[in-house]
């Protein structure tokens, strides 16, 4: 690909007083795309973003944003980017508009320009009606809109969003996805983190799966799923059969059609060459062992399966269902 590179990250590492947050991260972000960092809590997503926005210094490697080094040309980088932090970084005692006025001054905009842009970003995130209310009266969704408006005020070429829809209701999430797509349409390059698979799948043009501070794989959601190949078969058994799953797993391991087996809370997941070939063999094994299946299902690989294949675990821990009283 010969697309313009907006962000170049090379062998980046960060150790916080003895605790390794990220190791040997390398990736590129191309101009005008939505790039996602997908990973569970503690994977190192925020750390990576904080290094790129120049507020944390890496302990290894280097990174450039629009050609400017994030450790030596901090002011250049800062003036070209916008940032929407993971926490609702909002001052409860200021109104929405006052947040934006403050930021306008910190980006050294003339007053009239700040005022013009404030109208623009408020309209964009649909917060005009509440702009003069104190932020402490805002709902979670409104705070998020204000956060995004703050990130957009400097008219950035690159916008960094840290878990933009964390904890939001479905409607607000969909609306934020729309804003983000709208920003891409205006030519802004977007780097975001998420631990939602559907968000990564539907919103990101390309993504890096990151786990334990390392990048496991990079590509577009479609590419990643295609690269996995085959199908995923998932078996669910009744509670009484759970102790026999290990027996079943070792019996299935020998079958040629099966590539990988992963236990789940109430059954197992098999990656197979093709479900047409694998299903009869799986069913035959199951009935030979006289295990009673509650449910069997197969599907083309989803992003979830890509995540499991590359990290060896699900993005959110599955807990065995406890008995309802």
């Amino acid at each position: 690909m010969d697309r313009a590179v907006t962000i170049e990250v090379s062998k980046l590492g960060k150790v916080y007083d003895g605790l390794t947050a990220i190791t040997d991260l390398s990736f590129q972000v191309f101009a005008g795309e939505i790039f996602g960092l997908l990973g569970p809590n503690g994977a190192g997503k925020s750390t990576t973003l904080r290094i790129l926005i120049t507020v944390v210094r890496p302990t290894a490697g280097h990174a450039t944003v629009l050609g400017h080094d994030v450790t030596t040309e901090t002011d250049r980088v800062r003036s070209l980017i916008g940032y929407v932090p993971q926490e609702r970084a909002i001052d409860r005692f200021l109104t929405g508009r006052e947040h934006l006025l403050l930021l306008g001054a910190l980006y050294h905009l003339p007053k009239h320009e700040t005022i013009r842009r404030i109208e623009e970003v408020l309209k964009l995130v649909d917060l005009e009606a509440q702009a003069d209310r104190l932020a402490r009266t805002y709902s979670g969704g409104m705070k998020r809109k204000l956060d995004i408006a703050c990130g957009l005020l400097p008219n950035p070429r690159v916008l960094f969003l840290d878990e933009p829809t964390l904890g939001l209701d479905v409607q607000s999430r969909l609306r934020i996805w729309d804003y983000v797509r709208g920003l891409r349409a205006r030519g802004i390059t977007i780097v975001m983190t998420t631990n939602y698979l559907d968000e990564a799948d539907q919103l990101c043009d390309r993504l890096a799966i990151i786990d334990g501070g390392r990048i496991k794989t990079i590509g577009s959601p479609t590419e990643l799923k295609a690269a996995l190949g085959g199908d995923v078969v998932s078996l669910t058994v009744g509670a009484a059969e759970i102790p026999r799953l290990t027996t079943l797993a070792s019996a299935l391991k020998g079958l040629p059609a099966i590539r990988a087996i992963r236990p789940t809370a109430s059954g197992m997941e098999l990656r197979v060459e093709s479900s047409e070939k694998a299903l009869p063999a799986v069913l035959e094994t199951v009935s030979r062992l006289a295990i009673r299946l509650e449910f069997i299902e197969y599907h083309r690989p989803r992003l979830e399966d890509v995540f499991v294949a590359h990290t060896g675990h699900a993005i959110r821990e599955e807990f065995p269902k406890t008995e309802e009283p």
């Binding site: 901090t74 800062r78 980017i81 926490e87 001052d91 930021l103 703050c150």
Partner: protein, 259 residues
Amino acid sequence: MPEYLQEITALTMRWVRRLSREKFSMLFTLVQPMLFWLIFFGNLFQRAADAQVVQAPSYISFLAAGVVVMTVLNNGLAGGVDLLFDKENGFLERLMATPIRRTSIVLSRFLFVMTITSLQVLVILGVAFLFGVRPATGLAGVAVILFIGLLFGVGLTAISMALAFSVKSHGDFFSVLGFLSLPMIFLSSALVPLAAMPTWMSVLARFNPMTWAIDAVRPLILSGWADALPRVGLVVMIMVAFDALCLYGSARAFRRAMG
């Protein structure tokens, strides 16, 4: 330079705005607890305090200097609190991601804390005036009192901000604050003169910069320039050293927190 000014003004105005939003907090900031010390202690101990010991026409006139410096102490030590909350809720990081000079944030805080402190000192001297305390050195003396307050306040605010940037949780911050402030007050000449203290306390009190500040403010209120000037000269030197020490010690914490 105009950019620097723009940043500092905007950040300082934020503190002012926040204060004006918290109506209660604003009321209690101006009519603060220190005022009660002056009014209640001042009048309560009027008879109990021996005029020979305190060397002043009334206990309240003796106490005024102590209350002024206690106000500076409390404001200074609490000066980092808002930055602590900014750090905890991520607002600080938002500020750090903008192309500002790192010092703007710290300077805006100094400016705000010093302004509020000066206003409070004026309120205290005003109330003392109502109780008959007439500063012997007049308005010029009041200006010198404010100046001494500024010098002491800078160092204290620096310590407080450094602490705010360094602590892991805000519980730690308030513990350290609580631990520092009472001994600072009792081991100083705020409530009784050094001469009337047990020896060990008066020895410790001599190492307390607060004592030196009070001992310069007190003659400005009680006796006059001749008595006050040498002490003012001394305290200015001590405070410059104190500030240098505090700023030097805090600079590391600032740099670590702000990159």
